[in-house]
Symmetry: C2
Subunit: 437 residues, 2 copies
């Protein structure tokens, strides 16, 4: 009999929550079947990884501190090695990146550099969840990291229909009004307007403007998450972010360098330029309030990690579009290859359908049977291919007949192999459940 010190029920409810267990489960499956082709992980492409370049990035940022900002040697060492500014030390470079790549004009003081985008999400939700009546809206299916962070601060998340436009505005408006009628306080709606995870759907520019109008009319913040916007399909133009269209500080913008530079730096950021009036009458950006929370979560983001990101930004005049020429081509190539590969393996008009996103990392495949964790286990064990059950991105627990394929961390040859295996799984499972072929 194993000794037990604590029951999991004596810990915060989040640790038993599906959102927090989903990532764990998916990681465990991947670890159990290392030989399986993974069309599951939304990790960036690894072919161009080279850890021997870290020293180059660090050195470039150190020279920037000395040559551009005029710091002496002791100040350079202090900046990289000592405790530092809570809101970060590459804020000026990020502000320039947003200007160059996204035409977003932002005061660097309205930025908080965070430990990955996940911390940015957590800080925003912790700040906004002030009262048990607070509620968050999120387009469903929803990124698990958002749902999980909300659970940590006991903030309920109400789903909003996504649909072909990326967000169903009528459903959002009705949901907000219903919540208010119930005595709740809708704080914000979380959206990923570009190549969303997991749906792959993007909003067109007119719809983005309508969403901003709705946010103003219903007095709602929008939390815009944009990890994939840099990666459109071949021949597709990038669209303006909500933040670039935001003239009334309705949008809190979350940024990530995990896909555009490297995940291992764990550097992201939040643009929070909303004006907050303090108890003493002073007014400052929401970023300052987020920084106070950050000081009690991680103190500050590692300046060493920030220096790596800063060094990469400096090497490309702060343009990540320029820094990602090879990566952008690889993702566009993979997306075309994946969609073509699905069309070659599944007949048009048949029961298997799939999305054709305008960019990003993800394609959703609909199949004529429910897709659950048991099927994923069987797929890994018997067919040698990994993917993500779409049920993980819904809160309801009802069966979902769809799975998510990720194209970001594989080669075209792996896509071919993975799709062959997926096709075999789908054929066998369709036959087993007696669904129409």
């Amino acid at each position: 009999m194993e000794p037990v010190d604590l029951a999991v029920t004596a810990l915060h409810g989040s640790v038993g929550d599906p959102a927090l267990n989903s990532m764990n489960f998916l990681n465990e499956v991947a670890q159990h079947y290392p030989e399986a082709v993974s069309l599951a992980a939304g990790r960036p492409y690894e072919e161009f990884f080279d850890s021997s370049t870290l020293a180059t990035h660090l050195d470039r940022f150190r020279r920037h501190l000395a040559d551009d900002l005029g710091l002496g040697p002791a100040q350079v060492d202090r900046t990289l090695l000592q405790y530092g500014r809570t809101k970060g030390i590459v804020h000026h470079l990020i502000a320039r990146n947003l200007a160059v790549d996204e035409r977003i004009t932002v005061d660097p003081e309205a930025l908080v550099v965070t430990v990955g985008c996940q911390e940015a999400m957590f800080l925003v939700l912790r700040a906004l969840r002030a009262d048990p009546a607070d509620v968050l809206f999120a387009v469903a299916p929803t990124y698990v990291g958002l749902t999980g962070a909300a659970r940590l601060v006991d903030l309920p998340v109400r789903p909003v229909a996504g649909g072909p436009d990326g967000v169903d505005l009528a459903d959002l408006r009705a949901g907000v009004r219903r919540a208010r009628a119930e005595g709740l306080r809708p704080r914000a709606c979380y959206v990923m307007p570009d190549f969303a995870n997991p749906s792959g759907v993007s909003m067109d520019t007119a719809h983005r403007r309508r969403l901003l109008d709705l946010a103003a009319e219903e007095d709602l913040l929008l939390i815009e998450d944009n990890p994939y916007g840099l990666f459109p399909a071949d021949g597709t133009d990038r669209r303006p972010t909500l933040k670039a269209l935001d003239t009334a500080r309705r949008v809190v913008y979350l940024g990530s360098f995990a896909k555009t530079v490297l995940p291992g730096a764990r550097v992201g950021y939040v643009v929070a330029d909303q004006r907050v009036a303090g108890a003493d009458g002073t007014v400052g950006p929401l970023a300052d309030q987020l920084a106070k929370i950050k000081s009690m979560v991680t103190v500050n983001t590692s300046p060493i990690s920030q220096a790596v990101i800063g060094g990469v930004l400096l090497a490309h005049d702060c343009s990540l579009v320029a820094a990602n020429v090879r990566e952008r081509a690889a993702y566009a190539r993979n997306l075309a290859h994946l969609v073509d590969g699905l069309a070659r393996r599944f007949p048009a008009g048949g029961p298997v359908r799939w999305t054709v996103p305008a960019g990003g990392f993800f394609v959703v495949v609909t199949v004529p049977f429910p897709v659950d964790d048991a099927l994923l286990h069987r797929s890994a064990r018997e067919y040698g291919v990994l993917w993500t059950p779409m049920a993980h991105f819904y809160d309801a627990g009802t069966p979902v007949h769809a799975l998510r394929l990720s194209l970001s961390a594989v080669t075209p040859a792996q896509i071919d192999l993975g799709l062959d295996r997926l096709a075999a799984l789908v054929t066998d499972t369709t036959a087993a459940v007696g669904a129409p072929a």
Copy 2:
């Protein structure tokens, strides 16, 4: 009239809390008076900082991955640059460090490598705060980072008298029983047994054992925070940590590399070997539950930052005692210099008294007048010396006649200058309030 989008009262109460505002305030004062001698900041000594060595540390860890762990070049790159293990990649080195320096035997799987010790604190408090009836105990005066993290998860902190032994066991026992009688659930008591921040007090070994016994009798966890244990005064022996004495998994141990390697890596850890029974009957370490929470706060600790720490550990056979020969001598020298300097400036038996700690970074000076933020401002502006009002480490808001001096980030010459200025402030203020000289 400045535009306002949000009132601070519409945000989580923590942002208005004294604990979260304390650090901000102290940083702002320091920034306003950069020429003042700072006996305020508990930062590590900077004389030995050299950011050009980062590449060496990184390389050493990369060679360790290749040569000791047998990883191929692509796996090395993936380990440093890609998303990675939630519980960290230097856990085996930390476990070895704990064995070498602290005689703590720990399964590396019971470790979570965190973004500084602050995140470790946050994860533990988030896990333990499951219900509004939960309450935490902490020895007063209390480190502000603990109080602030508790605020973020709405966990009340009840003070326990510290006294000359480091914790007043009778007061702790009475407090726990009183809380239970009120229908509350005491979850843990936070303690810093070695050279505590801010009191400087240490527990002797017999008292540590009594505390462990009390924890077992009252069914309480102990959260042991040990950032300064490596830095005893000259001629003082180090004592066993609570965790080294813990035979019943009563102690959750928090570790930091901020003082022993460098703060800029933002790497800390938690040892959480408590056995937790899941809803499905499986039993695993509390560390696994903390990792789930971490996956929704920061995903994982930057492997680049971890590699820097790992490289330093590898260079010294995982002994931080060995790695800190120069630093240990500098802190011991400064502590002796500060205590001698106080004795030279303030008469024995007079109204000004001070602690003589057995090590660590902090000396507490008691003065014959209340020490508040206004006095700190005046000290910075008119006398050119910074220190920390002890009132910041108490929750009550009642006047405290004491201030904390930090010796960690200054030279002996700066200590002399700072003490001269402090003596002038104390003399003038004593005269002004009419206290006995």
